[in-house]
Symmetry: C2
Subunit: 374 residues, 2 copies
């Protein structure tokens, strides 16, 4: 039987009389086909993926698996409706922390209709897309078994200021998010989630290298989904940090030009993540002053999910209570109890440095060339 | 005495009753201060450059030297007017080929006025800025002593299609541009102008590396000027290929965010140049069919400068006539007469490969990391 996905953070949500995506128990995600050209565009995009020889294997893994389309009962009770059948990205994930980040300062293609451009431009200007080159379309951060998820309102998330985005990206990988927003994120999981040779930054850099080269697609209004499991990190296991590209209703042919709009936004996001890894305790961010997080604390926008929301979960697992206790008062009280891989941000710095070797070398080379001239 | 610059390719030009920049004989370029905040913005930007510790030496050389402001007689005869005094980038250049490339798909800042945004957005959409991430604001390509420069109209240059931009970027470094547009550019100087460890691509990559990191400035409506001297290339000397950043009337503070708009456009330009170097005789460009170059052949836009325009030049030098003769009929007839460094595009490929070593290494490393996961 199809049911409403537990871990959706952005987009229309299914409900009584409301059309939204559904999931089954075999790991498939059913996305209702939008009636206009957006639906057919997305089907066309997913269908074309396997035949594009220009997409290398290590990039293909960033796209969800596509299983075709299927007529299923729509979530709003309106009867049978064509759905895209995709990989359920939350399958097997226990209490995943998730961010949906819409990439690009511009969410509209030059070829789009006047009406659509006007609508998008307004939203791009009102949100953080224009200043930052991306906007957080939605997110959930797992806190603990008792407290469940911290899930700020979607409207609020899209309008975050630069300082608020910094804060959210740090809180996303912090252990001290249990009680309120009035504490400085400790970035305890930054090295294992963002850093390392298989971490988020490394994956984003792979994507960047491809976007510097590929002229096949221009992806407008496409998101990068960032997922990991905090409980695994607390147990000293790999947190399963992963990025996926989603939402392809506004894909256009590249026609010999790179997707400079997506690439610019991606590089901006990379810079934010990179900064957290290289300066985890940046003093400029005074998060205990709530002044800078007006969008995050606005009570009419913020939703803090508690365990009630998770009560129908069949995913609950017992985690190492000792590790959770260690974080209980919002700061790390007993580092000795934490697994080695969690020993602060510096631990995995080596891997990060490694994955940047090429870039550093390149820079050295360029400097060298310049010296050669003078 | 101040006079009208010989090699201006974009922007307002000085003339009878027309306000424009002037040059003196000591190598200074006088740019009239725009009356509104644009003038003061540009002065503020140039004045702030020396105090920014975040600009490394190898990047500083891309900015023109600034000598302050000075009251001089305006070119339109309106009397004394404050001018920015800058380095004359054409000083000492004999018959330079020049492109003025405005970088960024968006020429307006989020903070700009509604009226200004509306004006810029219209122009960005009508020009190649939106699809390509940059537009060619103007250019001149030196052909020969007899024929002078090929200088298409500025309005036409700004609206070039992707195929036309490819064509112009190839023609810019070709020897067979003597007669008409009906021949396939041979890219004879691509390796010495675009390629090599000190060539245009290498300089653009240095700039790119800095823009991936710097959060000091956002440069809207700023151009990259690309200059070289074809006659030097023909003589087997270094063609003096150089990029400079110009036009800073719309600079804003970065406030912790990279200039994703400039970076995206820059990466798009880099991809075009890179493609010329790696596939100099790309078969897809059928330039003998004029269909693809409507903007370049429109007779009301195109201006082909001849020697008359150069008659008051005191820069004329005698070049090796033998080399010019070798190219006389528009194709290379006698390669033996050409200096070694001009032997086709492949000659300097080694240097190009070198300057890319870092990037390639990086990619290898990433691939390696991925393999490590699976």
């Amino acid at each position: 039987m199809l049911k409403v996905p537990q871990h959706q953070v952005a987009g229309h949500e299914a409900g009584v009389g409301k059309l939204g995506p559904l999931v089954d128990e075999s790991g498939r995600f059913y996305k209702p086909l939008q009636g206009d050209e957006r639906g057919s565009n997305e089907v066309a995009f997913y269908s074309s993926l396997p035949v594009h020889s220009g997409i290398p294997e290590h990039i293909r893994r960033f796209f969800p698996t596509f299983y075709g389309t299927e007529l299923v009962e729509a979530s709003d009770g309106s009867g049978l409706l064509l759905h895209l059948v995709l990989e359920d990205l939350a399958l097997g994930r226990v209490n995943p922390s998730i961010m949906d980040i819409k990439i690009g300062s511009r969410t509209w293609a030059p070829e789009a209709s006047e009406k659509y451009i006007e609508k998008c431009l307004k939203k791009d200007r009102e949100s953080s897309s224009l200043p930052l080159g991306f906007r957080i379309s939605g997110l959930q951060i797992y806190r603990s078994k008792e407290l469940g998820f911290w899930k700020p309102g979607k409207k609020a998330a899209q309008k975050l200021s630069t300082e608020e985005v910094k804060l959210v990206l740090r809180r996303f990988v912090s252990s001290n998010t249990l009680n309120d927003l009035d504490s400085k994120p400790d970035c305890a999981f930054a090295s294992t989630v963002y850093g390392g040779s298989t971490g988020i930054l490394s994956q984003l850099l792979e994507l960047k290298a491809w976007f510097e080269d590929q002229t096949i697609f221009h992806l407008y209004s496409c998101s990068i989904l960032v997922i990991f499991e905090k409980e695994l990190a607390l147990e000293g296991k790999s947190p399963g940090a992963q990025i996926k590209l989603i939402d392809f209703a506004h894909v256009y042919e590249g026609r010999g030009v790179i997707d400079h709009n997506f690439l610019g936004g991606l590089c901006s996001l990379i810079k934010f993540i990179y900064k957290i890894l290289t300066a985890p305790s940046e003093s400029k961010i005074e998060v205990s002053a709530k002044a800078d997080q007006k969008n995050l604390t606005a009570s009419d926008n913020a939703v803090v999910a508690d365990l009630k929301n998770l009560s129908d979960s069949d995913n609950g697992v017992e985690t190492d209570q000792k590790n959770l206790t260690a974080y209980d008062n919002g700061v790390v009280t007993d580092r000795k109890n934490l697994p080695d891989s969690d020993n602060g941000v510096a631990a995995d710095r080596k891997s990060l440095t490694n994955s940047h070797d090429g870039v550093v070398d390149d820079h050295k080379h360029i400097t060298y060339s310049v010296n050669g001239v003078s």
